[in-house]
């Protein structure tokens, strides 16, 4: 229908009734965002009414213009009513499901129309598909229809066909191959508009393959007369040389000639082509530098000085887009080239000083000009001019201008950081802006501005602002502050102070590796440990909701609790404070029981408590109580820790103090290098661990056994960014406890290797390693035997608590208060092995608990296994039931049995015992007997 006719009708209507909101009505050219309140609201019902009235109008028109009915079918836009109907139907949908249903119906109709090869409706179909595609529904089935339209003869069909192709194309490769031929034909068409269409499509979608096929055609078109074709051919060439940079040299001389044109479209396209040539090819860039600089300067001069040109005028400036493109190309040409830079100095100065800065268009040019001045080898005078422009921008009220100024200052900082420093106060103000985009830019800029001299005041400003900043900005701000603090800390005290401030203001946003670093630093500063723990304690009193502050405080109290209480190493600046032991325990208890504390923190609390129980003997009863309450914890990790720590407190007083000794100084350089390399894959670090089983983790343990929370293990670990993996198997826990730098059990090889080494260390605490007491590994800790060739098939203790028990009875000094006795092999035959390990209550020297472990060395399982023992009269024996009477073959399982003996003549007569073991092998009874005389002395 003659869309023109409709239009004439529409224009008549317009003045009468047009209840629509025109986009430009409230338009104010200086204000980029038209005032919200001035905008007439665009209500849906209103617009729907108006659309239907318009549609009705169109229908009337359609009836009265029967003559056009023949043309209707041929015009791509004649089927507008049906497209309108579809849009109306879609807009009437109230739910997404309704919309989907409508779209599905439409798509089905279009598909059937396509399959019926209904030529009359194909353009309407494509138009509908475009709309459906825009709504985000699959429309790939329309692609072939587009190809058909492209192949047809008429311009309108081609037009919509190409448009559809560009929009709907998603399965690129296949369809592109089919379209290449049509494109080639259209590029050679006599109609300039059809050539333009083909160029446009090629410029938007062409692949490398097509680029090679069609480059000669495009090259030819670059030299035609028609400016419309020329400009499109130039942009098409950009796509071609991006896809196939080898073709660049073919285009450099035609590109140069484009710059001599008068038509702005050709110029802007030509300048962009030259810019891209510079990017892809050094040769082309040199060629252009030689041949084009003069031409570009002339273009710039012409548009600067040209009289009013209505077609290209924007706010009194002729074609700012061309300005900007030329300036950009000059930047590429002048970059690193003194001669060119000198040549363009004048014109840049002219643009920078003459362009009016009261309109957006002028500012856009100034912005680009400043960037060019910064990008080339400009004279110092010109640079001052540029920085001054930025200063003006920075104090502008318009946020857009301030944003670009900040953006530009970031680039200027590498050129002239002194000049940028002058604007520091203003920039710092921008960090506090209400606009997130400006804040973000300003923060990045401030980060670049920090140097050794201004680090302290800037950090103070930023930390002050941290207190009042938006929640969603705190994350960015915190990470930047932390990196400034870490990068520019010249003295440890300052670093610790600032970190404590950040932790207490925004501890929830601090990344794990940052507070890990703080702990490493504190560990390395013996003079400041007391100060640190006191400041952390003070900070904790004020803000106990910040996770990482809480964690660091817990760690420090655990490690340096006595410094807190005894005021060790008080600095002059410190205010005196009194903290009692129970205050310190209070902190830990409150953290442990606080509802929002996570498992990691709670685990840390438990460890800190264990440490305090040894640091503060008077509080140990209370600590024990707190730990005991967690024995029933539903969280496996906490339950396990609680049980194990409880057992340490109850039964292993003798080794506790050495177990919970202070962590050895954490190796700062190792940590830093690990942190730097933490981005590397864990695999590689694990590998290196395997190669060096006595690597970092071992070095840190220094042969001193100490419990360590998994976060600390993590701290020592290579995978610093991982959250601590809650360890759940006893094997893992062993590693945790022994402070092996491993967080997961996946690398069992590494785990057992270093685990063993640590174990060796552990054994070497009190006494020299006793070769006959090396615990034999269970299946869960493979490789012990390989690493410890001295291991005799002796005591077998698998569970960790047992292991500790074993250690408790083994690794003692003879003169220690409560002697610990080594395990023994009580009995061994070719078929059976019995090992005993011993524990003693310190206050009851006569009483010994013996854990007997039975192991089947034969290849057949034993059933009905019974162990009996007889002792001399001066000894009382109490046998507990065994845990099983079935003993699997080949040492694959074991029976344990505990019995208590009371030596009434303790100290005078040694223990002696006769044993009898009865069992069945494939229903045949067997009996073994023996006497045990090798009990360790002192039982």
């Amino acid at each position: 229908m003659a869309d023109g006719v409709v239009r004439s009708k529409k224009t008549q209507n317009k003045t009468v009734a047009r209840p629509r909101t025109a986009l430009l009505t409230p338009f104010l050219s200086s204000n980029p965002c038209p005032d919200l309140d001035l905008c007439p609201r665009f209500s849906l019902s209103e617009s729907r009414r108006s659309s239907s009235s318009r549609v009705a109008g169109v229908e009337d028109e359609g009836r009265t213009l029967e003559d056009f009915s023949a043309a209707l079918a041929m015009n791509p836009f004649s089927s507008g009513t049906r497209l309108r109907d579809m849009i109306k139907a879609i807009r009437a949908c109230k739910t997404a499901a309704e919309e989907r249903a409508v779209v599905r119906k439409e798509c089905a109709a279009i598909r059937s129309s396509i399959s019926e090869n209904d030529q009359d409706y194909s353009h309407r179909n494509i138009a509908k598909l475009m709309f459906i595609h825009m709504l985000g529904y699959p429309t790939h089935f329309g692609q072939m229809e587009c190809l058909k339209l492209i192949a047809s003869a008429g311009f309108p069909e081609k037009r919509i066909g190409y448009l559809g192709l560009m929009l709907l194309l998603d399965e690129r490769q296949e369809v592109l191959m089919l379209v290449t031929n049509s494109l080639k034909q259209d590029l050679g068409h006599t109609n300039q508009y059809i050539v333009g269409l083909a160029l446009c499509a090629l410029g938007n979608i062409c692949s490398a393959e097509m680029a090679r096929d069609l480059a000669p055609e495009v090259e030819r078109l670059l030299l035609t007369r028609d400016p419309n074709i020329k400009k499109k051919a130039a942009l098409c060439s950009i796509r071609i040389i991006r896809k196939v940079p080898d073709l660049a040299e073919n285009f450099s001389s035609p590109a140069t000639s484009l710059l001599k044109e008068k038509h702005h479209g050709v110029l802007i396209a030509g300048v962009q082509l030259c810019t891209d040539l510079c990017k892809v090819s050094e040769d082309a860039s040199n060629h252009l530098r030689k041949n084009c600089t003069e031409g570009l300067v002339r273009i710039l001069k012409d548009i600067c000085n040209s009289p009013y040109a209505p077609e290209y005028d924007i706010a009194g400036i002729t074609d700012p887009f061309l300005h900007i493109r030329v300036l950009r190309l000059l930047r590429m040409l002048g970059h690193g080239d003194a001669d060119t830079s000198e040549y363009i100095n004048d014109i840049l100065a002219q643009v920078a000083s003459k362009t009016e800065s009261n309109k957006n268009a002028g500012n856009a040019i100034l912005y680009e000009c400043v960037e060019t001045i910064m990008g080339i080898e400009a004279t110092s005078g010109l640079r001052v001019l540029a920085i001054n422009i930025l200063g003006r921008f920075l104090s502008n009220r318009d946020n857009n201008i301030r944003y670009v100024a900040l953006n530009m200052l970031m680039k200027a900082i590498s050129v002239d950081s002194q000049a940028v420093q002058r604007h520091r106060t203003t920039i710092l103000e921008c960090v506090k802006d209400s606009d997130a985009s400006i804040r973000k830019r300003a923060l990045e800029l401030v980060f670049l501005l920090v140097n050794d001299t201004n680090a302290k005041p800037l950090t103070k400003e930023l930390i002050d602002y941290l207190e009042v900043s938006d929640q969603d900005f705190k994350g960015d701000l915190t990470s930047k502050i932390c990196s400034i603090i870490e990068k520019f800390s010249q003295e440890k005290k300052w670093y610790i102070d600032q970190m404590v401030k950040v932790l207490s203001l925004a501890g929830n946003y601090v990344k794990d590796n940052v507070w890990h670093a703080l702990i490493v630093a504190i560990s390395n500063a013996p003079d400041l440990q007391g100060y640190s723990v006191r400041s952390l304690y003070k900070a904790f009193q004020l803000s106990s909701e910040q996770v990482s502050l809480v964690q660091v405080t817990i760690w420090c109290i655990g490690e340096y609790g006595e410094m807190l209480v005894n005021n060790v190493g008080v600095l002059q600046v410190e205010e005196p404070m009194t903290v009692t032991e129970s205050d310190a325990v209070d902190v830990l208890e409150s953290c442990l029981t606080h509802h929002s504390t996570d498992i990691t923190t709670q685990s840390m609390c438990l460890i800190a408590l264990l440490k305090l129980s040894s640091r503060f003997p008077p509080s140990s009863g209370r600590v024990k109580e707190i730990i005991t309450t967690h024995i029933g914890s539903v969280v496996l990790e906490l339950q396990q820790r609680a049980i194990e720590f409880n057992s340490i407190i109850q039964r292993h007083q003798n080794i506790k103090s050495s177990l919970v000794e202070r962590m050895p100084v954490l190796d700062e350089s190792t940590f830093i290098s690990k942190r730097a390399g933490s981005s590397q894959a864990n695999i590689s670090t694990e590998k290196s661990n395997q190669q060096l089983p006595s690597g970092a983790s071992l070095k840190l343990s220094n042969g001193v056994a100490k419990p360590a929370a998994s976060p600390l293990v993590d701290l020592l670990d290579l995978s610093l960014d991982d959250t601590p993996v809650p360890t759940s198997t006893s094997n893992d826990f062993l590693h945790d406890l022994l402070d092996v730098g491993l967080t997961n059990s996946s690398s069992s090889g590494v785990a057992s290797a270093s685990g063993t080494d640590i174990l060796m260390d552990l054994l070497s605490i009190g006494t020299p390693v006793q070769s006959n007491t090396t615990p034999e590994n269970g299946s869960s800790i493979k490789g012990f035997n390989d690493i410890l060739p001295i291991a005799k098939p002796n005591t077998a203790t698998v569970q960790v608590v047992d292991l500790l028990d074993g250690l408790a009875s083994n690794g003692s000094h003879p003169g220690a208060q409560s002697p610990v006795h080594p395990s023994i092999t009580a009995y061994q035959s070719s078929t059976l092995k019995i090992t005993f390990s011993f524990t003693k209550q310190p206050d009851k020297p006569q009483v010994t608990q013996i854990h007997a472990t039975f192991m089947n060395l034969s290849s057949e399982a034993y059933t009905d296994f019974i162990f009996q023992a007889a002792v001399p009269k001066f000894i009382q024996l109490h046998l507990d039931p065994a845990n099983s009477n079935h003993l699997p073959a080949s040492g694959n399982g074991r029976i344990t049995q505990t019995f208590t003996i009371t030596n009434t003549q303790h100290g005078q007569k040694p223990l002696a015992m006769r044993i009898r073991i009865a069992y069945k092998v494939s229903n045949q009874e067997r009996l073994e007997q023996g006497q045990i005389n090798n009990f360790p002395p002192g039982l």
Partner: protein, 169 residues
């Protein structure tokens, strides 16, 4: 199924190829028109190979980000690895995704030129004009931007082919 996989593999290859050749370092990445309710009214992507799901997600993210901003805030939003320059006209938001080194102020000016061009053609252009004449809006955009580069800035030059076509039919 297999076809789908093949296609996605191919697409990935194309994207990688594009990245290698630096196709992604181009001025305009997409032009998006969205109304106040967040419904897309026009979408044109340049050298962005997005699946429908990716596109929906992207548009959703951008629209959420931009529409939430007040008008005192600046017209630039950083999103993923590019910037969005946006401008509001009555009920319509014009969002243009550009590379980080693009001149943001010039893009603002470009948006305005686009609106003025449509206004000249439709006469007091409004959201409905763009909806019902989606293809014409696309034709204009096509005359103005090719492969992410601005190709024509004169309104009459942009509209000439469209008017010719209307006269012809």
């Amino acid at each position: 199924m297999l076809g789908g996989q093949l296609i996605s593999v191919l697409r990935r290859e194309i994207v990688e190829e594009g990245d290698e050749k630096g196709v992604n370092s181009m001025g305009i990445r997409f032009v998006l028109l969205v109304n106040k309710q967040g419904q897309t009214r026009l979408a044109q992507y340049y050298a962005e190979h997005l699946t429908l799901d990716e596109r929906r997600a992207l548009e959703g993210e951008i629209v959420r980000k931009c529409l939430a901003r007040t008008e005192q805030q600046c017209s630039f939003v950083e999103h993923r690895n590019y910037k969005i320059v946006y401008r509001r006209y009555a009920s319509l938001f014009f969002l243009v995704g550009v590379d980080n080194d693009e001149n943001e102020l010039a893009i603002l000016e470009f948006i305005h030129l686009f609106v003025e061009t449509m206004d000249r053609h439709f006469g007091n252009v409004c959201e409905l004009d763009i909806m019902f004449h989606l293809e014409k809006a696309h034709f204009m955009l096509e005359e103005m931007v090719m492969n992410g580069c601005i190709v024509e800035t004169s309104k009459s030059n942009i509209l000439a082919p469209i008017q010719l076509m209307e006269k012809a039919s």
